[in-house]
Protein backbone atom coordinates (compact mmCIF):
# COMPACT_ATOMS: atom_id res chain seq x y z
CA UNK A 1 0.00 0.00 0.00
CA UNK A 2 2.80 2.35 0.88
CA UNK A 3 4.46 1.46 -2.36
CA UNK A 4 1.51 2.42 -4.51
CA UNK A 5 1.12 5.59 -2.54
CA UNK A 6 4.75 6.42 -3.05
CA UNK A 7 4.72 5.66 -6.71
CA UNK A 8 1.58 7.59 -7.43
CA UNK A 9 2.68 10.62 -5.49
CA UNK A 10 4.62 12.42 -8.25
CA UNK A 11 1.83 11.73 -10.71
CA UNK A 12 -0.70 13.18 -8.30
CA UNK A 13 1.42 16.21 -7.78
CA UNK A 14 1.75 17.00 -11.46
CA UNK A 15 -1.97 16.51 -11.86
CA UNK A 16 -2.65 18.87 -9.03
CA UNK A 17 -0.23 21.41 -10.43
CA UNK A 18 -1.77 21.16 -13.82
CA UNK A 19 -5.17 21.73 -12.34
CA UNK A 20 -3.96 24.61 -10.24
CA UNK A 21 -2.13 26.48 -12.92
CA UNK A 22 -5.00 28.17 -14.75
CA UNK A 23 -6.42 29.17 -11.39
CA UNK A 24 -3.07 30.53 -10.28
CA UNK A 25 -3.07 32.84 -13.26
CA UNK A 26 -6.45 34.16 -12.34
CA UNK A 27 -5.44 34.80 -8.74
CA UNK A 28 -3.64 38.12 -8.42
CA UNK A 29 0.06 38.30 -7.72
CA UNK A 30 1.32 38.31 -4.13
CA UNK A 31 1.72 42.09 -3.61
CA UNK A 32 -1.71 42.67 -5.05
CA UNK A 33 -3.15 40.17 -2.62
CA UNK A 34 -1.49 41.92 0.29
CA UNK A 35 -2.88 45.26 -0.86
CA UNK A 36 -6.33 43.74 -1.14
CA UNK A 37 -6.02 42.26 2.33
CA UNK A 38 -4.91 45.56 3.84
CA UNK A 39 -7.77 47.31 2.04
CA UNK A 40 -10.26 44.81 3.41
CA UNK A 41 -9.01 45.36 6.92
CA UNK A 42 -8.79 49.13 6.83
CA UNK A 43 -11.65 50.43 4.71
CA UNK A 44 -14.05 50.55 7.64
CA UNK A 45 -11.68 52.71 9.70
CA UNK A 46 -11.42 55.14 6.80
CA UNK A 47 -15.21 55.19 6.40
CA UNK A 48 -15.75 55.80 10.12
CA UNK A 49 -13.27 58.65 10.06
CA UNK A 50 -14.78 60.13 6.92
CA UNK A 51 -18.32 59.96 8.30
CA UNK A 52 -17.17 61.52 11.55
CA UNK A 53 -15.29 64.25 9.70
CA UNK A 54 -18.21 65.11 7.42
CA UNK A 55 -20.90 64.80 10.10
CA UNK A 56 -19.14 67.16 12.49
CA UNK A 57 -17.63 69.53 9.93
CA UNK A 58 -20.47 72.01 10.22
CA UNK A 59 -21.21 71.25 13.85
CA UNK A 60 -22.63 74.17 15.77
CA UNK A 61 -22.94 72.24 19.03
CA UNK A 62 -20.20 73.53 21.33
CA UNK A 63 -19.77 70.10 22.87
CA UNK A 64 -19.32 68.30 19.56
CA UNK A 65 -16.36 69.98 17.89
CA UNK A 66 -15.45 69.08 14.34
CA UNK A 67 -12.99 66.26 13.96
CA UNK A 68 -10.72 68.70 12.18
CA UNK A 69 -10.46 70.97 15.20
CA UNK A 70 -9.90 67.97 17.48
CA UNK A 71 -7.02 66.79 15.35
CA UNK A 72 -5.59 70.31 15.04
CA UNK A 73 -5.46 70.74 18.81
CA UNK A 74 -4.16 67.21 19.23
CA UNK A 75 -1.23 67.81 16.89
CA UNK A 76 -0.56 71.25 18.34
CA UNK A 77 -0.27 69.86 21.88
CA UNK A 78 1.65 66.86 20.67
CA UNK A 79 4.25 69.03 19.02
CA UNK A 80 4.63 71.61 21.79
CA UNK A 81 5.30 68.94 24.38
CA UNK A 82 2.25 69.51 26.59
CA UNK A 83 0.99 66.01 25.94
CA UNK A 84 4.41 64.39 25.85
CA UNK A 85 5.29 65.38 29.41
CA UNK A 86 1.86 64.30 30.63
CA UNK A 87 2.09 61.01 28.81
CA UNK A 88 5.55 60.35 30.20
CA UNK A 89 4.24 60.91 33.72
CA UNK A 90 1.18 58.70 33.21
CA UNK A 91 2.99 55.89 31.47
CA UNK A 92 5.75 55.98 34.09
CA UNK A 93 3.10 55.47 36.78
CA UNK A 94 1.55 52.68 34.76
CA UNK A 95 4.88 50.92 34.26
CA UNK A 96 5.84 51.18 37.91
CA UNK A 97 2.43 49.97 39.08
CA UNK A 98 2.42 47.07 36.65
CA UNK A 99 5.93 46.03 37.66
CA UNK A 100 4.97 45.91 41.32
CA UNK A 101 1.79 44.03 40.46
CA UNK A 102 3.64 41.48 38.34
CA UNK A 103 6.34 40.91 40.95
CA UNK A 104 3.92 40.53 43.86
CA UNK A 105 1.43 38.56 41.77
CA UNK A 106 3.98 36.04 40.54
CA UNK A 107 5.64 35.49 43.91
CA UNK A 108 2.31 35.23 45.70
CA UNK A 109 0.90 33.01 42.97
CA UNK A 110 3.86 30.63 43.08
CA UNK A 111 3.56 30.27 46.85
CA UNK A 112 -0.21 29.86 46.82
CA UNK A 113 -0.12 27.54 43.85
CA UNK A 114 2.30 25.20 45.59
CA UNK A 115 0.56 25.09 48.95
CA UNK A 116 -2.94 23.72 48.63
CA UNK A 117 -4.11 24.32 52.18
CA UNK A 118 -3.05 27.96 52.27
CA UNK A 119 -4.69 28.51 48.90
CA UNK A 120 -8.01 27.10 50.07
CA UNK A 121 -7.91 29.18 53.21
CA UNK A 122 -7.28 32.54 51.58
CA UNK A 123 -9.38 31.84 48.48
CA UNK A 124 -12.47 33.81 49.61
CA UNK A 125 -10.33 36.74 50.73
CA UNK A 126 -8.59 36.89 47.36
CA UNK A 127 -11.86 36.78 45.49
CA UNK A 128 -13.29 39.50 47.66
CA UNK A 129 -10.34 41.84 47.11
CA UNK A 130 -10.40 41.12 43.43
CA UNK A 131 -14.07 42.13 43.26
CA UNK A 132 -13.57 45.57 44.78
CA UNK A 133 -14.20 48.05 41.98
CA UNK A 134 -10.76 49.47 41.27
CA UNK A 135 -12.08 52.93 40.60
CA UNK A 136 -13.69 53.03 44.04
CA UNK A 137 -10.25 52.77 45.64
CA UNK A 138 -9.10 55.95 43.97
CA UNK A 139 -10.88 58.47 46.23
CA UNK A 140 -9.81 56.61 49.37
CA UNK A 141 -6.17 56.18 48.46
CA UNK A 142 -5.79 59.66 47.03
CA UNK A 143 -7.73 61.12 49.94
CA UNK A 144 -5.50 59.39 52.44
CA UNK A 145 -2.12 59.72 50.77
CA UNK A 146 -2.49 62.83 48.65
CA UNK A 147 -2.37 63.46 44.92
CA UNK A 148 1.31 62.59 44.46
CA UNK A 149 2.81 59.92 42.30
CA UNK A 150 3.11 57.18 44.94
CA UNK A 151 -0.60 56.73 45.71
CA UNK A 152 -1.38 56.46 42.00
CA UNK A 153 1.25 53.79 41.53
CA UNK A 154 -0.05 51.83 44.52
CA UNK A 155 -3.61 51.99 43.22
CA UNK A 156 -2.52 50.72 39.82
CA UNK A 157 -0.45 47.99 41.45
CA UNK A 158 -3.31 46.90 43.69
CA UNK A 159 -5.78 46.73 40.81
CA UNK A 160 -3.43 44.90 38.45
CA UNK A 161 -2.18 42.40 40.99
CA UNK A 162 -5.22 40.14 41.13
CA UNK A 163 -5.35 38.88 37.53
CA UNK A 164 -1.60 38.15 37.67
CA UNK A 165 -1.94 36.38 40.99
CA UNK A 166 -4.92 34.26 39.96
CA UNK A 167 -3.40 33.34 36.62
CA UNK A 168 -0.09 32.41 38.22
CA UNK A 169 -1.93 30.10 40.59
CA UNK A 170 -3.76 28.53 37.64
CA UNK A 171 -0.49 28.16 35.78
CA UNK A 172 1.24 26.51 38.72
CA UNK A 173 -1.67 24.12 39.12
CA UNK A 174 -1.40 23.28 35.44
CA UNK A 175 2.20 22.03 35.65
CA UNK A 176 2.39 18.52 34.26
CA UNK A 177 2.31 16.07 37.21
CA UNK A 178 5.02 13.94 35.59
CA UNK A 179 7.39 16.89 35.44
CA UNK A 180 6.60 17.67 39.04
CA UNK A 181 7.40 14.11 40.03
CA UNK A 182 10.65 14.21 38.08
CA UNK A 183 11.70 17.31 39.92
CA UNK A 184 10.91 15.58 43.19
CA UNK A 185 12.64 12.30 42.30
CA UNK A 186 15.83 14.09 41.32
CA UNK A 187 15.62 16.15 44.51
CA UNK A 188 15.86 19.43 42.63
CA UNK A 189 16.46 22.10 45.29
CA UNK A 190 13.47 24.30 46.05
CA UNK A 191 14.83 27.47 44.53
CA UNK A 192 15.85 25.73 41.35
CA UNK A 193 12.53 23.90 41.23
CA UNK A 194 10.65 27.21 41.34
CA UNK A 195 12.92 28.98 38.90
CA UNK A 196 13.50 26.27 36.34
CA UNK A 197 10.45 24.02 36.55
CA UNK A 198 7.37 25.77 37.86
CA UNK A 199 7.96 29.29 36.58
CA UNK A 200 8.56 28.39 32.92
CA UNK A 201 5.63 25.98 32.93
CA UNK A 202 3.35 28.63 34.38
CA UNK A 203 4.70 31.43 32.19
CA UNK A 204 2.07 31.28 29.42
CA UNK A 205 -0.68 31.67 32.02
CA UNK A 206 1.22 34.42 33.80
CA UNK A 207 1.64 36.37 30.58
CA UNK A 208 -2.08 35.95 29.90
CA UNK A 209 -2.72 37.40 33.36
CA UNK A 210 -0.54 40.42 32.61
CA UNK A 211 -2.46 40.86 29.37
CA UNK A 212 -5.67 41.09 31.40
CA UNK A 213 -4.02 43.43 33.89
CA UNK A 214 -2.77 45.89 31.27
CA UNK A 215 -6.13 47.47 30.32
CA UNK A 216 -7.13 47.53 33.98
CA UNK A 217 -3.93 49.40 34.70
CA UNK A 218 -4.59 51.91 31.93
CA UNK A 219 -8.11 52.51 33.22
CA UNK A 220 -6.96 53.01 36.80
CA UNK A 221 -4.16 55.27 35.57
CA UNK A 222 -6.64 57.53 33.79
CA UNK A 223 -9.22 57.42 36.57
CA UNK A 224 -6.68 58.30 39.25
CA UNK A 225 -5.68 61.33 37.22
CA UNK A 226 -9.21 62.30 36.31
CA UNK A 227 -10.07 62.23 39.99
CA UNK A 228 -7.26 64.43 41.24
CA UNK A 229 -3.89 65.20 39.74
CA UNK A 230 -1.68 68.03 38.65
CA UNK A 231 0.02 66.18 35.83
CA UNK A 232 -0.60 63.40 33.36
CA UNK A 233 -2.94 62.48 30.51
CA UNK A 234 -5.99 62.30 32.76
CA UNK A 235 -5.15 65.72 34.10
CA UNK A 236 -4.89 67.03 30.54
CA UNK A 237 -8.41 65.76 29.81
CA UNK A 238 -9.82 67.02 33.10
CA UNK A 239 -8.13 70.38 32.88
CA UNK A 240 -9.27 71.06 29.35
CA UNK A 241 -12.82 70.03 30.14
CA UNK A 242 -12.84 72.25 33.25
CA UNK A 243 -11.65 75.21 31.18
CA UNK A 244 -14.11 74.46 28.36
CA UNK A 245 -11.45 73.62 25.83
CA UNK A 246 -13.74 71.08 24.23
CA UNK A 247 -11.59 69.95 21.28
CA UNK A 248 -8.70 69.34 23.69
CA UNK A 249 -10.95 67.21 25.90
CA UNK A 250 -11.93 65.07 22.94
CA UNK A 251 -8.34 64.92 21.76
CA UNK A 252 -7.13 63.75 25.16
CA UNK A 253 -9.77 61.04 25.44
CA UNK A 254 -9.00 59.82 21.92
CA UNK A 255 -5.29 59.86 22.60
CA UNK A 256 -5.72 57.70 25.69
CA UNK A 257 -7.65 55.24 23.54
CA UNK A 258 -4.93 55.19 20.91
CA UNK A 259 -2.27 54.71 23.59
CA UNK A 260 -4.29 51.84 25.03
CA UNK A 261 -4.49 50.25 21.61
CA UNK A 262 -0.78 50.70 20.89
CA UNK A 263 0.16 49.26 24.28
CA UNK A 264 -2.00 46.20 23.67
CA UNK A 265 -0.35 45.72 20.26
CA UNK A 266 3.10 46.10 21.81
CA UNK A 267 2.17 43.58 24.42
CA UNK A 268 1.26 41.03 21.76
CA UNK A 269 4.74 41.52 20.24
CA UNK A 270 6.32 41.11 23.65
CA UNK A 271 4.24 38.02 24.32
CA UNK A 272 5.40 36.45 21.04
CA UNK A 273 8.97 37.19 22.12
CA UNK A 274 8.78 35.85 25.65
CA UNK A 275 6.72 32.82 24.74
CA UNK A 276 8.30 32.03 21.38
CA UNK A 277 9.31 28.56 22.63
CA UNK A 278 5.72 28.00 23.69
CA UNK A 279 4.16 29.01 20.39
CA UNK A 280 6.81 27.08 18.51
CA UNK A 281 5.92 23.93 20.41
CA UNK A 282 2.45 24.32 18.96
CA UNK A 283 0.91 24.00 22.38
CA UNK A 284 -2.57 25.29 22.89
Amino acid sequence: MTETALRSAPKLETAARARRRPKAQRVRSRPARIVLDVLQRTWLIVVVFAVWWIATAESTNVFIPSLESILVSLFRDLSNGVIASGAAYSLGNLAAGLLIAVAVGIIGGLILGETKRLREIVDPVIHFFRSIPQAALVPLIIGAFGIGQGPKIYTIAFACMWPVLLNTIDGVLGVEPTIRKFSKVYRIPRGLHFRKVVLPAALPQIVAGVRVALPIGITVMVVSELFAANKGLGFYILNSSATFMVPETWAGALLVGVIGYILSLLFIVLERRILSWYFKSGAK
Partner: protein
Protein backbone atom coordinates in the same frame (compact mmCIF):
# COMPACT_ATOMS: atom_id res chain seq x y z
CA UNK B 1 -9.09 28.74 41.53
CA UNK B 2 -12.14 26.73 42.28
CA UNK B 3 -13.54 26.60 45.75
CA UNK B 4 -14.30 23.05 46.71
CA UNK B 5 -17.99 22.49 46.60
CA UNK B 6 -18.02 20.03 49.48
CA UNK B 7 -20.16 22.42 51.44
CA UNK B 8 -19.43 21.34 55.00
CA UNK B 9 -15.74 21.22 55.62
CA UNK B 10 -15.72 22.68 59.10
CA UNK B 11 -11.97 22.63 59.48
CA UNK B 12 -11.52 24.67 56.35
CA UNK B 13 -14.32 27.07 57.28
CA UNK B 14 -12.79 27.73 60.68
CA UNK B 15 -9.39 28.27 59.13
CA UNK B 16 -10.88 30.68 56.63
CA UNK B 17 -12.58 32.61 59.39
CA UNK B 18 -9.30 32.63 61.28
CA UNK B 19 -7.55 34.01 58.21
CA UNK B 20 -10.09 36.84 57.98
CA UNK B 21 -9.71 37.47 61.71
CA UNK B 22 -5.94 37.56 61.31
CA UNK B 23 -6.24 40.09 58.50
CA UNK B 24 -8.50 42.29 60.62
CA UNK B 25 -6.08 41.97 63.53
CA UNK B 26 -3.17 43.04 61.33
CA UNK B 27 -5.26 45.96 60.13
CA UNK B 28 -5.96 47.02 63.69
CA UNK B 29 -2.33 46.65 64.74
CA UNK B 30 -1.17 48.71 61.78
CA UNK B 31 -3.59 51.44 62.76
CA UNK B 32 -2.45 51.41 66.39
CA UNK B 33 1.13 51.54 65.27
CA UNK B 34 0.33 54.76 63.44
CA UNK B 35 1.96 53.91 60.13
CA UNK B 36 -1.25 54.56 58.24
CA UNK B 37 -2.63 58.10 58.00
CA UNK B 38 -4.66 58.86 61.11
CA UNK B 39 -8.00 59.00 59.33
CA UNK B 40 -8.06 55.30 58.47
CA UNK B 41 -10.81 53.75 60.59
CA UNK B 42 -10.21 50.93 63.03
CA UNK B 43 -11.99 47.60 62.86
CA UNK B 44 -14.63 48.57 65.43
CA UNK B 45 -15.48 51.83 63.68
CA UNK B 46 -15.60 49.99 60.38
CA UNK B 47 -17.94 47.32 61.71
CA UNK B 48 -20.29 49.85 63.25
CA UNK B 49 -20.45 51.91 60.07
CA UNK B 50 -21.11 48.80 58.00
CA UNK B 51 -24.01 48.10 60.37
CA UNK B 52 -25.14 51.70 60.16
CA UNK B 53 -25.09 51.62 56.37
CA UNK B 54 -27.33 48.55 56.34
CA UNK B 55 -30.07 50.42 58.17
CA UNK B 56 -29.73 53.73 56.32
CA UNK B 57 -32.01 54.65 53.46
CA UNK B 58 -29.15 56.44 51.68
CA UNK B 59 -27.24 53.24 51.32
CA UNK B 60 -30.13 51.28 49.87
CA UNK B 61 -31.09 53.96 47.40
CA UNK B 62 -27.45 54.35 46.35
CA UNK B 63 -27.21 50.61 45.87
CA UNK B 64 -30.41 50.61 43.84
CA UNK B 65 -29.16 53.45 41.63
CA UNK B 66 -25.84 51.75 40.99
CA UNK B 67 -27.48 48.42 40.26
CA UNK B 68 -30.09 49.92 37.93
CA UNK B 69 -27.49 51.67 35.83
CA UNK B 70 -25.15 48.69 35.85
CA UNK B 71 -27.82 46.14 34.96
CA UNK B 72 -29.49 48.18 32.24
CA UNK B 73 -26.16 49.04 30.62
CA UNK B 74 -25.13 45.42 30.85
CA UNK B 75 -28.38 44.18 29.27
CA UNK B 76 -28.03 46.63 26.38
CA UNK B 77 -24.46 45.48 25.84
CA UNK B 78 -25.42 41.81 25.96
CA UNK B 79 -28.21 42.26 23.42
CA UNK B 80 -26.16 44.39 21.04
CA UNK B 81 -22.99 42.36 21.49
CA UNK B 82 -24.61 39.00 20.83
CA UNK B 83 -26.49 40.11 17.72
CA UNK B 84 -23.53 41.98 16.24
CA UNK B 85 -21.11 39.25 17.24
CA UNK B 86 -23.12 36.45 15.60
CA UNK B 87 -23.41 38.51 12.46
CA UNK B 88 -19.74 39.49 12.32
CA UNK B 89 -18.49 36.09 13.36
CA UNK B 90 -20.39 34.18 10.71
CA UNK B 91 -19.58 36.47 7.78
CA UNK B 92 -15.91 36.19 6.91
CA UNK B 93 -15.63 39.54 5.09
CA UNK B 94 -17.31 41.43 7.94
CA UNK B 95 -15.01 39.75 10.40
CA UNK B 96 -11.94 40.94 8.54
CA UNK B 97 -13.19 44.45 7.98
CA UNK B 98 -14.18 45.05 11.57
CA UNK B 99 -11.19 43.44 13.26
CA UNK B 100 -9.08 46.59 13.70
CA UNK B 101 -12.07 48.63 14.84
CA UNK B 102 -12.99 45.98 17.41
CA UNK B 103 -9.42 45.61 18.63
CA UNK B 104 -9.31 49.35 19.06
CA UNK B 105 -12.63 49.45 20.87
CA UNK B 106 -11.80 46.69 23.30
CA UNK B 107 -8.54 48.29 24.34
CA UNK B 108 -10.13 51.70 24.77
CA UNK B 109 -10.39 52.73 28.42
CA UNK B 110 -13.99 53.93 28.22
CA UNK B 111 -13.75 55.75 31.56
CA UNK B 112 -11.31 58.14 29.85
CA UNK B 113 -14.26 59.30 27.76
CA UNK B 114 -16.14 60.36 30.89
CA UNK B 115 -15.54 64.12 30.60
CA UNK B 116 -16.68 63.99 26.98
CA UNK B 117 -19.77 61.92 27.74
CA UNK B 118 -20.63 64.17 30.67
CA UNK B 119 -20.48 67.17 28.35
CA UNK B 120 -22.85 65.45 25.95
CA UNK B 121 -25.32 63.84 28.34
CA UNK B 122 -24.74 65.46 31.74
CA UNK B 123 -24.04 63.61 34.98
CA UNK B 124 -27.22 61.55 34.80
CA UNK B 125 -28.23 57.94 35.18
CA UNK B 126 -28.62 57.83 31.41
CA UNK B 127 -24.99 58.83 30.95
CA UNK B 128 -23.92 56.15 33.41
CA UNK B 129 -25.93 53.53 31.53
CA UNK B 130 -24.33 54.57 28.26
CA UNK B 131 -20.80 54.35 29.66
CA UNK B 132 -21.55 50.96 31.23
CA UNK B 133 -23.01 49.66 27.98
CA UNK B 134 -20.02 50.92 26.00
CA UNK B 135 -17.62 49.16 28.34
CA UNK B 136 -19.56 45.91 28.53
CA UNK B 137 -20.12 45.65 24.80
CA UNK B 138 -16.58 44.57 23.94
CA UNK B 139 -16.18 41.38 25.96
CA UNK B 140 -19.57 40.12 24.76
CA UNK B 141 -18.85 41.10 21.18
CA UNK B 142 -15.37 39.62 21.08
CA UNK B 143 -16.42 36.37 22.74
CA UNK B 144 -19.46 35.99 20.48
CA UNK B 145 -17.40 36.57 17.35
CA UNK B 146 -14.91 34.06 18.61
CA UNK B 147 -17.64 31.52 19.29
CA UNK B 148 -19.37 32.01 15.97
CA UNK B 149 -16.12 31.89 14.01
CA UNK B 150 -14.78 28.79 15.62
CA UNK B 151 -16.67 25.99 13.99
CA UNK B 152 -15.53 22.49 13.36
CA UNK B 153 -14.80 22.03 9.67
CA UNK B 154 -16.58 18.66 9.80
CA UNK B 155 -19.70 20.43 11.05
CA UNK B 156 -19.42 23.07 8.36
CA UNK B 157 -19.13 20.39 5.68
CA UNK B 158 -22.03 18.40 7.08
CA UNK B 159 -24.24 21.48 7.09
CA UNK B 160 -23.32 22.24 3.51
CA UNK B 161 -23.78 18.71 2.24
CA UNK B 162 -27.17 18.26 3.84
CA UNK B 163 -28.14 21.72 2.60
CA UNK B 164 -29.41 22.75 6.01
CA UNK B 165 -31.51 25.91 5.60
CA UNK B 166 -29.94 29.07 6.96
CA UNK B 167 -32.40 29.61 9.79
CA UNK B 168 -32.13 26.04 11.02
CA UNK B 169 -28.37 26.23 10.72
CA UNK B 170 -28.36 29.38 12.82
CA UNK B 171 -30.66 27.93 15.49
CA UNK B 172 -29.32 24.41 15.82
CA UNK B 173 -25.68 24.70 14.77
CA UNK B 174 -24.28 28.20 15.14
CA UNK B 175 -26.06 29.18 18.34
CA UNK B 176 -25.30 26.05 20.37
CA UNK B 177 -21.66 26.05 19.35
CA UNK B 178 -21.25 29.72 20.20
CA UNK B 179 -23.24 29.68 23.45
CA UNK B 180 -20.38 28.73 25.81
CA UNK B 181 -18.29 31.60 24.47
CA UNK B 182 -21.19 34.03 24.66
CA UNK B 183 -21.80 32.93 28.25
CA UNK B 184 -18.21 33.67 29.15
CA UNK B 185 -18.49 37.11 27.56
CA UNK B 186 -21.69 37.81 29.46
CA UNK B 187 -20.07 36.76 32.72
CA UNK B 188 -16.96 38.90 32.19
CA UNK B 189 -19.03 41.91 31.23
CA UNK B 190 -21.23 41.60 34.33
CA UNK B 191 -18.23 42.20 36.57
CA UNK B 192 -17.15 45.06 34.33
CA UNK B 193 -20.64 46.58 34.60
CA UNK B 194 -20.32 47.00 38.37
CA UNK B 195 -16.76 48.25 38.14
CA UNK B 196 -17.63 50.85 35.54
CA UNK B 197 -20.85 51.95 37.21
CA UNK B 198 -18.99 52.62 40.45
CA UNK B 199 -16.16 54.26 38.52
CA UNK B 200 -18.56 56.61 36.76
CA UNK B 201 -20.08 57.60 40.08
CA UNK B 202 -16.68 58.22 41.64
CA UNK B 203 -15.69 60.52 38.79
CA UNK B 204 -18.95 62.42 38.35
CA UNK B 205 -21.90 63.70 40.32
CA UNK B 206 -24.02 60.72 39.31
CA UNK B 207 -25.73 59.31 42.42
CA UNK B 208 -24.86 55.80 43.59
CA UNK B 209 -22.39 53.88 45.71
CA UNK B 210 -19.32 55.39 44.08
CA UNK B 211 -20.68 58.87 44.67
CA UNK B 212 -21.25 58.00 48.32
CA UNK B 213 -17.62 56.94 48.65
CA UNK B 214 -16.41 60.24 47.24
CA UNK B 215 -18.84 62.23 49.38
CA UNK B 216 -17.88 60.39 52.55
CA UNK B 217 -14.21 60.88 51.80
CA UNK B 218 -14.70 64.60 51.18
CA UNK B 219 -16.60 64.92 54.46
CA UNK B 220 -13.77 63.08 56.24
CA UNK B 221 -16.18 60.30 57.22
CA UNK B 222 -13.62 57.64 56.51
CA UNK B 223 -15.38 54.80 58.26
CA UNK B 224 -18.43 55.10 56.05
CA UNK B 225 -16.27 55.51 52.96
CA UNK B 226 -14.64 52.17 53.79
CA UNK B 227 -18.04 50.65 54.54
CA UNK B 228 -19.29 51.62 51.09
CA UNK B 229 -16.11 50.27 49.56
CA UNK B 230 -16.76 47.01 51.38
CA UNK B 231 -20.27 46.82 49.97
CA UNK B 232 -19.04 47.63 46.47
CA UNK B 233 -16.68 44.68 46.74
CA UNK B 234 -19.39 42.48 48.18
CA UNK B 235 -21.77 43.25 45.31
CA UNK B 236 -19.07 42.56 42.72
CA UNK B 237 -18.15 39.33 44.45
CA UNK B 238 -21.75 38.09 44.71
CA UNK B 239 -22.43 38.81 41.07
CA UNK B 240 -19.27 37.04 39.95
CA UNK B 241 -20.03 33.97 42.07
CA UNK B 242 -23.66 33.90 41.02
CA UNK B 243 -22.85 34.03 37.32
CA UNK B 244 -20.09 31.48 37.69
CA UNK B 245 -22.58 29.15 39.30
CA UNK B 246 -25.25 29.84 36.68
CA UNK B 247 -22.82 29.28 33.84
CA UNK B 248 -21.77 25.95 35.31
CA UNK B 249 -25.41 24.92 35.63
CA UNK B 250 -26.72 26.04 32.27
CA UNK B 251 -23.75 24.82 30.30
CA UNK B 252 -23.37 21.51 32.05
CA UNK B 253 -23.45 19.77 28.68
CA UNK B 254 -20.42 21.65 27.56
CA UNK B 255 -17.27 20.30 29.13
CA UNK B 256 -14.90 22.67 27.35
CA UNK B 257 -15.84 25.72 29.35
CA UNK B 258 -14.30 24.29 32.49
CA UNK B 259 -10.73 25.16 31.76
Amino acid sequence: MKTSTKSLDWGLTTQRLLAVAALLAIWQVVIWSGTLPSMTPGVAALASSIGAALTSATFWSALAQTMTAAVSGWLIAVAAGTVLGLLIGSVRALDRSTSILIDFGRSFPVLALMPVVIMLLGATAKMETVVVALSCLWPVLVQTIYGARRMDSAVVDTVRIFQIPALLRFRRVLLPSATPFIATGIRISASIAILVAVGVEVLSQTPGIGRQITLAQQDQRWDSAFAYLFFAGLVGWSIASLLNFAEGRILKWNRQTND
